[in-house]
């Protein structure tokens, strides 16, 4: 199966440049094979392991596909395939003759390297695949090389992820130094490996966009082509999650790990969504929402670590299951939303919500799908994200009820989760309403058009997946339980620790009733007679589209509560005089971590480098002085040592 996948993806690379259709077919086949392999591995919990004598970089190839990697592999398969279809409709050769073929090539490279990251069970090969993955994502982010901000975003991503990669250098090098070889595998007995967890957390956290290491994420996801954003946000940042799940499962972790991870997750969930609510750029909004959801995943993961430390409390199983399931759910619905945003961008040419509005008339399908995605991402029943958040809630409730120290973590996390959920609802109501409802605010929005079936198809597929998972969560339990078992072997794959069946039942009933009631009311309204009239405007005679609530005004109430962290930059020009010419209020929410921490640090380093470069002033006499200085210092060292 995997071999087929490999062959197809590599073949796709070969023909991606000139034969888009064949490329698509190959990628789809490859992804199908990958999903098949993953589902096989998930079906029997045993997993699959393969050592070959073939050496790469002096290390024997060692692949392993267990339930954990299979979960991520399946997600990659779905989004990777969908994105490939989307790409052909969205980033066409006609519009981008130069970058579209390159995009197809690197798309396969990225899929391949992510697959290798998931499979390889050897530190050296893991690092190779990891770095290839980073570079290919850089190329895809900066695919549109002509745009300066795309390049800047790409470079920021590359720099941040390379910093993370070097943490992983240290991580794997220390590991190899202690083990004597690069081979990876379960070594839970080795207590002395525990401190390495911090390196792994730093290295993978950057890639996962774990707060506060998320600073690269918004610009990268906002500026890349939408199918790339979908893959990045849906799958790529999950690779960081995979890394932490994988190595926290294989190696012992320090006692504080659970607390730190959970705290970072809670902070990320709350602040991420607060930033999201503040954004006016549709894709930045989605990107920050990814920060939130990664935070939610890490709440679950940290809880699981905590529970594992507290004698394998049963609730930690719920938390881990929730986290893993949320990886899927967020991956699916976030890709759906990015696809929607891409379709909007494609139709109107702008990501600024305040320039859009009333798009539902032009593009009803996109609007409907976005509404569905919004309901999902806000974690509302009866759709899939609710299921995983519900599991996490249950775990937190049980942890709190256990009356031991873990409650100190569980209660704040639960409250943060609640607030984050409500904020997410606000954020996505805002996005959906400002973009799709009301009256179009600009020409561009009026001239919008529905996207091609090539673009809509993947969106429908993903939406269908979201609904299905929401309706039959119990069907996924074996997979999740298998992964939990692989993560911590003492947790034997048991019957659902939570009444997923009942939940699914309730969800099905709800969906049926929704459809029924909606149809009934619609028919009734039509039967009573339905007139169209202007929106009631308090007697104002000439209503204009500019009068609508904008994204800024909608989010203002809630974002002001966080203004000490969001640090909004508002430029207000008040109307003056008896006949005010023009007034304006512009709000802008830059990323606080980037603006207040990273940039000053970078400036400091650059000034240091500038000072150092003054020493290279071209006067040879001083160069000889440097030489003698080096001589003296070395002599000192020799004398002292």
């Amino acid at each position: 199966m995997l071999l087929i996948a490999l062959l197809c993806v590599v073949g796709g690379m070969a023909c991606g440049r000139h034969l888009p259709r064949l490329w698509l077919a190959l990628v789809l086949a490859g992804m199908a094979a990958a999903i098949g392999a993953a589902s096989l591995a998930l079906g029997d919990g045993a997993g699959w392991e393969w050592r070959s004598a073939f050496r790469v970089g002096g290390e024997a190839l060692h692949l392993r596909l267990d339930a954990i990697s299979a979960m991520f592999l399946a997600l990659m398969g779905v989004v990777g395939g969908g994105g490939a279809v989307y790409a052909l409709g969205y980033w066409t050769d006609r519009d981008h003759p130069d970058s579209a073929p390159r995009g197809r090539l690197w798309w396969n490279v990225m899929l391949l390297s992510m697959g290798l990251v998931l499979l390889s069970s050897n530190g050296l090969h893991f690092l190779i695949a990891w770095e290839m993955f980073a570079i290919s994502s850089y190329v895809l982010i900066a695919l549109d090389r002509q745009r300066r901000d795309a390049r800047a975003a790409g470079w920021l991503f590359l720099a941040a992820s390379h910093a993370g990669t070097l943490c992983l250098f240290a991580f794997f090098a220390m590991l190899a130094a202690r083990n004597g070889d690069w081979d990876l595998g379960p070594m839970s007995g080795r207590a002395e490996l525990a401190p390495l967890f911090w390196l792994a957390l730093a290295g993978f956290g950057v890639k996962a966009g774990l707060f506060p290491m998320h600073f690269w994420l918004p610009s990268a996801h906002a500026n890349s082509p939408s199918h790339v954003s979908a893959l990045m946000s849906g799958v790529a940042i999950k690779m960081g999650v995979y890394g932490i799940v994988r190595f926290s499962g294989w190696f012992p972790v320090p006692a504080a790990a659970g607390w730190i991870v959970m705290g970072a997750g809670a902070a990320g969930a709350l602040l991420g969504i607060a930033f999201s609510l503040a954004q006016n750029d549709l894709k930045r909004l989605l990107a920050y929402c990814s920060v939130e959801n990664v935070g939610i995943i890490f709440i679950g993961l940290g809880g699981a670590l905590l529970g594992a430390a507290h004698g394998d409390a049963p609730w930690s199983r719920l938390l881990l299951a929730g986290a893993l399931l949320h990886v899927w759910n967020h991956g699916l619905c976030k890709s759906l939303l990015f696809f929607c945003s891409g379709s909007v961008l494609h139709a109107t040419g702008t990501r600024e919500m305040s320039r859009l509005g009333g798009l539902w008339r032009a593009m009803p399908w996109t609007a409907g799908l976005f509404a569905l995605g919004a309901v999902t991402i806000s974690g509302l029943p009866p759709l899939n994200a609710f299921v995983s958040e519900w599991l996490i809630y249950l775990g937190l409730f049980d942890a709190a009820s256990s009356h031991d120290a873990s409650g100190w973590a569980a209660v704040p996390a639960a409250l943060a989760l609640a607030a984050a959920g409500a904020l997410a609802l606000a954020s996505f109501i805002k996005a959906g309403a400002v973009v799709f409802l009301g009256a179009p605010r600009t020409e561009a929005a009026e001239r919008a058009h529905e996207s091609a079936p090539m673009i809509l198809g993947p969106m429908f597929a993903l939406a269908g997946a979201c609904v299905l998972i929401g309706l039959a969560p119990v069907a996924l339990w074996p997979a999740v339980a298998g992964a939990a078992h692989a993560w911590r072997p003492v947790w034997a794959a048991a019957a659902p620790a939570a009444p997923l069946f009942a939940l699914g039942l309730a969800n099905v009933a709800l969906v049926v009733l929704f459809v029924f009631a909606g149809a009934l009311l619609w028919r009734k309204a039509n039967a009573n007679g339905l007139r169209r009239a202007l929106t009631w405007d308090c007697g104002y005679k000439t209503p204009s589209a500019r009068m609508q609530y904008t994204s800024g005004s909608f989010g203002r109430t809630a974002t002001d509560w966080f203004s000490s962290i969001l640090l909004p930059q508002r430029h207000l020009r008040r109307p003056r005089g008896p006949f005010p010419a023009r007034a304006a209020l512009m709000g802008h929410f830059p990323d606080t971590v980037l603006e207040r921490i990273i940039d000053p640090a970078a400036a400091a380093v650059m000034s240091l480098s500038l000072g150092a470069r003054r020493l290279q002033h071209g006067r040879i006499q001083f160069y000889i002085v440097y030489l003698l200085g080096g001589l003296t210092i070395l002599a000192m060292i020799v004398l002292l040592g």
Partner: protein, 219 residues
């Protein structure tokens, strides 16, 4: 030891002369005198090995002849030519003045002598001035390299540095095979020759030998 004493005396005398020439090179503001000091020093050093060998030897004599020829006449000639071409004959505004550099040089010489008594030397060397002489000369060379701005003075500094090292090498002259010595000498000669050529070229390219003009390449 008795058999050594007269020779050592002679050697010490010459080395002392060389050290005096160092101070002259440091103190004089006029380039020709610096070059002359260097040249004389070269001649003096060329003679030393002949003295050190008790008896006459062709190879030694040959090497001495080459040294004297190169260091005493060829290189100085080259430098003089460049100097004339650039029609400069004095080192104006050096980075460090003459008196300070003189004092530095003197101090360096004293330190060199002092240090020599700390170094573990073979008995037959402990009475010669070779080591302090070479250290002092090296030091002088560095002072000239660092404190002067005219390319020619720097070349002189470099040559004096080489002279110092050559002096040090004389410690090994009897115990190491002669081939190496001569090879090294030849190499030094080539190097200095190349430097002379480059000085000439620079003079043509910049029509000046002021190294302060050579600071285009910088960060």
């Amino acid at each position: 030891m008795e058999r050594w004493c007269p020779v050592t005396e002679w050697v010490n005398l010459l080395v002392g002369l060389a050290m005096g020439l160092n101070l002259l090179a440091l103190g004089s503001s006029r380039l020709p005198s610096v070059i002359r000091a260097m040249a004389v020093q070269g001649v003096v050093l060329g003679l030393i090995p002949v003295l050190m060998e008790g008896r006459f030897e062709w190879l030694v004599a040959l090497m001495a002849a080459v040294t004297v020829l190169l260091k005493g006449f060829l290189i100085p000639g080259l430098l003089r030519r460049a100097m004339r071409a650039a029609n400069i004959d004095r080192e104006i505004e050096p980075l460090v003045g003459y008196v300070p550099s003189l004092l530095l040089g003197a101090g360096g010489t004293i330190v060199a002598v002092a240090v020599t008594y700390r170094l573990p030397l073979l008995p037959e060397h402990s009475h010669t001035l070779l080591v302090p002489g070479s250290l002092a000369t090296i030091f002088t060379g560095f002072i000239l390299l660092i404190c002067r701005v005219k390319a020619i003075s720097q070349v002189c500094g470099y040559l004096i540095l080489e002279n110092g090292i050559y002096l040090f090498g004389l410690l090994l002259v009897r115990s190491t095979p002669f081939l190496v010595e001569s090879g090294i000498l030849l190499d030094l000669a080539v190097g200095v020759f190349v430097i002379g050529i480059i000085v000439d070229r620079i003079q043509r390219a910049f029509d000046s030998l002021d190294t302060r003009k050579l600071t285009v390449l910088r960060e």
